[in-house]
Every structure is written in C-alpha cells, then in structure tokens.
Amino acid sequence: MHNPQLNNKGELTHLLSTEGLPAAILTQILDTAASFMEVSSRDVKKVPLLRGKSVFNLFFENSTRTRTTFEIAAKRLSADVINLDITRSSTAKGETLLDTIDNLCAMDANLFVVRHASSGAPYLIAEHLHKIGRDDIHVVNAGDGRHAHPTQGLLDMYTIRHYKKDFTQLRVAIVGDILHSRVARSDIHALTTLGVPEVRAIGPETLLPKYLDKLGVHVYHDMAEGLRDCDVVIMLRLQNERMNGALLPSAGEYFRHYGLTPHMLAMAKPDAIVMHPGPMNRGVEIHSAVADGPQAVILPQVTFGIAVRMAVMSIVAGN
C-alpha cells in the first residue's frame, strides 16, 4: 500500500502520522527544527520561505493552544494565515467535509492544518486532494480523534533529543490515558522508529489499548515499577471529555495510583526529564511540585513546538 504521506520520490508531502515515516525523515524534521530554533532566537523572527503562500487552519475540534502555535509558526515563515473554526452547526447545514475542502481549494489554499474529532479525517482529505489532482496542496494533521498528533510527537522527540542526545540508550515511560490519546500513539511510533530500546506504558487496564505489546511497548500497571530507572517520563492529561463512563471511579483514586508525585518521580533516574503535552491537570495526573520542579521541561516543549511546526510546514510545502 502506498504511503499517503510521501510523494513518488519518497519525500514528505503531507504529515499525517509519525507511523510509517522512516527514521531519516523524522531526523530531517528534527534537524530542520534546530535551524528554526535559531531563527526564533533572533530579533527578526521571520524567514521568507512561505511568503505568498496561504496556510488554512481547519479546526473542526476546538483548540486555541495548538491553533495559536501553528499560526505563529506559519507567520514566522511569512505565510498568510487564515483561521477557520468549523463548528458543528455549519456541518449541520449539510456541507460535507470534502465539500468544505473543495471550496477552500478554490480560494488558493497551499497548506491545510487540520484538527478533527474523527480518526482518519486528514487521510480522507489527502486522498481527496490526490484524486482531484491537487498534489500541490499539503495537509498537516493537528490531531485526529484518538489516532495521531504527529507534530506533538515530533516536538516530544525534539525535546528528548535536546536533553538526552542519544535515543538508543533510553528508557521512556508514557503514563496515563493512552487508550484515548493521539499524543501517546504518535510518541510510541516515533520512539520506536528512532531506536529507543525500551518504551513503557503505565496505567490502569481500562485506559490502555489492547495489543500495545504489538506496537513494541512494555505494559505496567504499577507506576513505581514502571518508572524505575526511566530517563524520560511523559505524563498524559486525564481527558474528561473523551471518557463516556465506567473507565475510572474518580480523579482522586487515579492520582493516588498514577499521579506523578515527587515520591514517584524519585523512582526514575535522578536526571530524568518530565514532559507533558499540556494543558496540565494539577493534582490529577501531576503534582504541582513536579510540574514546577527542576526536572520538568514542559515550557521548553512549547518553544520547541513552534520550531518543529515551522520545520514541518516548510518541508512539506517545498515537496
């Protein structure tokens, strides 16, 4: 099956998932992001790469945070940014997803940044663009259902590389609601592709997908056991809005068993870094002392995120 993310020269033309991307392409993105970090440290934080191009932010699911970072990234590339908040009501007016895309293509869009509540939506869009002969328009997935959030996965990899340098020597633990997490899936694929020898998932049975071992992940239900000697701890948000019943008794019980307290963190290596895709639920998955402590790299993640998104957009837009 052809990889819909790559063109026929094997170059990245859409970013839909970290899964299925060769290590060389992931590394290219991280290296390019390093150059963009330098740009972000200048007074003039702009480069003319995407001048004259239009980036359309299509957010079918609300997210001010992610949309803002994509907007900043696109503007630093000198692109024109158009934000479309497509609420339930406009789709209720009968316009299908693909009709919306066709309309936007007619408005000279060059790049779609898409967030959607249904897993697979960006693939449908990329497939459609190919069918109508618009291989010049690129799709960047900003999060689809539970499936993938590839730019988050990439910025998490950038963060790990920045602090830990060598992927092949690490133990990385992902803690929390992995069942519903697109961030977790994107992290897992990127970590295994980049050669991390041990990826661990920690959580109660109800929050872990079946068959995680098939993805190369070691499953732990005991957090202390799972964190032992880890170099990186990625905490996931406990997502209230995604759970519809019977998965957890209470946030309190969750925190007692799976919350990252200073005591739990001490199980990991003393120089372990603590990451979180944000926004954090203090006192639910993470103790404030840890979130504000010296091992947390949560704010740098945000800065890295802008550079990574600049890298992704400039790579796909040029292919």
Binding site: M1, P4, E19, T96, L97, L98, H116, S118, S119, G120, A121, Y123, L124, E127, H128, D144, G145, R146, H147, A148, R182, R185, P209, K210, Y211, L212, K214, L215, N244
Partner: protein, 416 residues
C-alpha cells in the same frame, strides 16, 4: 414459453447433480426435464450455455432494496433470483399492509422474488410484539430485528415464545447493545493502532450465548445472521450439534476481508458487524466450507455522501448483489472448496434455512436459474453496476465469474 438451455455444465448441489454438456428443459415456469427432453417437448427458445455453468438461481439471505427497481435489476444481473429483505427500511416492516405492498411491488417489477422479513417488534424498538401472524399471511417469511439488538431480554423471550407458538422462525443478528454501541471497528490490533473505538468479540458471543439459551427454553427456530467471530461460530456449532433449531449465515465480505483491510481508514471497510482478525476470518471460512453456514451478500447500498467521510462517520456496508457470485467463487478457490459445494452455500443452503422449495434444479421445481461463465473476467466499476450502491472495497478490481442469463419462474429476466 418452452426454453431449452443446452451445452452447459449443469450443477444442482441439493441433488448432487454435476453434468457436463447437459440440457435443462423449462415449461410453464417449471423445470420439466434435466438431461433428457420430456416427451413432445418443443423449444420455443434456446439458450446456448457453452462454457457456462447452469445452476439454481442464487438466494440472497440479506439484501436491502432501498430503491426497489434498481436493486431488483441488480439482483438478477448478479444471478440472484430470490432476495430476503431485512425489515429495517423506512418505515420498518411492522404492518401487514406494508408487507403486502412490498411483495406486490416486487411481483409487478417481475424480476427477482422478494421475500421480506417482518419486524419482530413494533418499530423494531424491541419492546412490543408486531402482528406476526398477520405479517406472515401478507408474505413475510420470518421475523427479524435486522441489526438492532433487543436489549430487553424478557421482551426477546416473550417474542420467541410467541413465534414458537406459530412455528415462525426468528432471525437475529447477535450483537450486545452495550458492548457495541460506541465501537466502530473490531477491538483488535488495527483499532488499537489507528485509535478506533473497538467492538470486542464478547459483543457477539454474549449475544449468541443468550439467544442459544432462549432457544433451549422456547424451542423457537432461530437463524443467526452475519456471524463475524471464531468464538461466536464455535458456540453456534456446538448448539447445532446439540440438536437445537439454529442456523447461521456469514456475509461474503467477512469471508474475504479482515481488520487489516481498513488500511488507511478506508471507509469501504466499515461493516456491521466489523471485519475482525485473520483467525476469525479463517474460522468463518472453515465452517462455511464444511457446510455449517450459508453465505449472503448483506447488500447495503450507500451513497457517496454517506461513505466518503472519516471512518467513524461513514455509513457501514457494501454493495453486494452483483458481486456475490464472483466473490463466492473467489472464496471457494482460496479455501479449496469445489464449485458445487460453493454454490450450495448460496442456493440450496439458503433454501433450506428458509424452508422454501427453491435453490435446486429438480424436475418440477420453479425454474429459477442462473447461467454464468466461471472464467469470464470483468472490472468492478460504477458503470458496470445496476445497483444504486456503488460502495465497495473492491471497486476497480477485476471480478471472475460473470452472469450470462438469469431466469425467474421460467422467464429470462436478465441477459448480459
């Protein structure tokens, strides 16, 4: 009209007939001779079936006829001479008058026979009984909830007791309401990886188990539709061995495809029940090959607007009437099943489940016949289909097995 179909390979799975270069003689809508012409028979029309198989017309145990004219034309183009229609059209088939009209309309159109399933409960809500006897009188062959579960086990028990009183058969799709309501794909490797809400096998086995117990208690004859899992099939096999009045069928797509065919979220791979794992597919295939399950198309036409959506929003189902034959032949070849045994799954086995006098080429039987070329290839393309449903995971693929002529009641209702 006296018709002679000659030079074909005549196969009647029910009666163990498999003769090369034999003829079939038809008069007054019935088969009057097989191999030898009856005395004084003079053909007014001859059909040359050289290089073709002459088989009983296919009986499809599940096809939705949204726009009845187009779909009945599709049926005969696919060699299907009898179509069992689930009661879940809009409005659901819970009134005798509605059933009467449906059967009548089918007769008017004069192509494939329409065998409607009546709703077991009013509005298919699973609460109050529909007028089963009235529906039977109006032409319903059995009673069903289509793919909607009956949540209230007491209501199901009473419905089965009532049906048993009259000797009516109840057709149920075994799917536990609670375990399947938020899922969109088989709870397996693919769903885990792609982040799709899963429907566990337990959704099927729990329902199968409950229904089997209710059959034991009521003696009601039950047909279980569209089995999808190895575990579910295993329970059914054991119940059948126990001598319980239980039969089952499998959708042709579930014999050929698995969760892996979802690929990059292909909405054409969304089915109810979902496509499961390779082990499940293999078990379904083994049971069908051994004669333990009938095969049907589960024909579900879906418009492009309802299919070209993200996986979880797309309407499930695929077009089936015109691909049932070539896909069954494809399955048979892969599973090492002989042609007569494969044809039995879509002719005599469905007839037996329905308790009708069809699905065979016996002398005296109604002349419902399919003449097809088992070697001819054709490409599945929207223009090649008469059905309004162009939704198929096989679109663009080559199909092997082409219907040349279809006869219903001794009349040629389709010629390629």
């Amino acid at each position: 009209m006296n018709i002679e179909i000659s030079n074909g390979r005549v196969i009647c799975p029910k009666n163990g007939v498999d003769r090369d270069n034999a003829s079939v003689y038809i008069a007054h809508g019935r088969i009057v001779g097989l191999g030898e012409a009856p005395k004084g028979f003079v053909a007014t029309q001859k059909v040359d079936a050289s290089g073709c198989v002459v088989s009983p017309g296919l009986i499809d145990l599940g096809a939705r006829l949204n726009s009845i004219e187009a779909e009945l034309a599709a049926a005969v183009a696919g060699g299907v001479t009898s179509v069992v229609v689930p009661p879940d059209a809009d409005p659901p088939l819970d009134e005798p008058e509605l059933a009467d009209r449906r059967v009548h309309r089918g007769e008017e159109i004069g192509k494939a026979r329409v065998l409607p399933l009546g709703a077991l409960t009013l509005g298919l809500k699973g609460e109050r009984l529909a007028e089963l006897a009235g529906l039977k009188k109006a032409g319903c062959v059995a009673f069903s909830q289509a793919s909607r579960p009956v949540v209230d086990t007491e209501a199901l028990l009473r419905a089965m007791e009532y049906a048993a009183t009259f000797g009516f058969a109840v057709w149920l799709q075994p799917q536990d309401h609670w375990l399947s309501r938020s899922g969109i794909a088989h709870e397996g490797e693919v769903a885990s990886r792609l982040g799709l809400a899963g429907i566990p096998v337990a959704a099927e086995t729990i329902a199968v188990g409950s229904i089997i117990q209710l059959v034991r208690d009521t003696g009601c004859r039950v047909h279980l539709t569209r089995i999808s899992s190895a575990a579910g099939m295993s329970l059914i096999q054991r119940a059948a061995k126990e001598g319980l009045p239980i039969s089952c069928d499998v959708g042709i797509h579930h014999l050929l495809l698995t969760e892996n065919d979802i690929g990059y979220f292909n909405p054409h791979a969304r089915f109810v029940p979902p496509l499961r794992a390779q082990g499940d597919r293999q078990a379904l295939s083994d049971v069908a090959a051994a004669g333990g399950a009938a095969i049907c198309s589960d024909h579900t036409p879906v418009g492009a607007d309802d299919k070209l959506l993200p996986f979880g929003e797309a309407k499930p189902g695929a077009t089936g009437l015109e691909v049932l034959l070539p896909l069954t032949l494809k399955w048979a070849e892969a599973a090492g099943v002989s042609l007569p045994a494969a044809l039995a799954r879509i002719t005599s086995a469905p007839a037996e489940i329905l308790g009708v006098d069809g699905g065979s080429l016996a002398v005296g039987a109604p002349a419902d016949i399919c003449v097809f070329d088992p070697q001819a290839s054709w490409q599945l393309a929207p223009e090649a289909l008469r059905s309004r449903g162009k939704n198929s995971p096989w679109m663009g693929y080559m199909m092997t097995g082409k219907v040349m002529h279809t006869l219903v009641d001794g009349r040629i209702v389709y010629s390629t």
